[in-house]
Symmetry: C2
Subunit: 81 residues, 2 copies
């Protein structure tokens, strides 16, 4: 299943910080059966969106918690165009 | 520039409805210099995320307003991984 999760409070995030957070997620995601496909950052409002393929919302939540950046919202997005 | 916009209140949206909304956006986007690249829907919470390439937030706003589904939030996302 696909999920879109949202992080808040990351005002001023840099490309390097986004890369580091994503790399940390990639390092542990396999243990939860998750794959983070892409992430987009808005440093002005401090918002980050992550698109993943995962077995459950809980699995996405666990990866982000283990890597120290819990998601504020995790939405199942069962279809896209 | 890349933008991620968010729509709320679309509980129960179907793949066909998402496709129709996206097609409507594609039909007028060129007049505003916008291209909607992808959109993801969560029918349970009624949330839709749209990723676009556009000259400004206002241009994204105008396309969605012209096609009858104004965005609740439009975030510039200057970088991604």
């Amino acid at each position: 299943m696909k999920f879109m999760d949202v992080h808040h409070g990351m005002v001023g995030i840099t490309p390097e910080q986004l890369r580091a957070a994503h790399t940390a997620d990639l390092a542990v995601e396999g243990e939860e059966g998750v794959h983070f496909e892409q992430a987009w950052a808005d440093p002005e409002s401090g918002t980050v969106y992550c698109l993943s393929e995962a077995p459950s919302r809980e699995a996405v939540r666990r990866v982000h918690e283990r890597t120290g950046h819990p998601a504020a919202e995790i939405h199942s997005v069962p279809f896209s165009v």
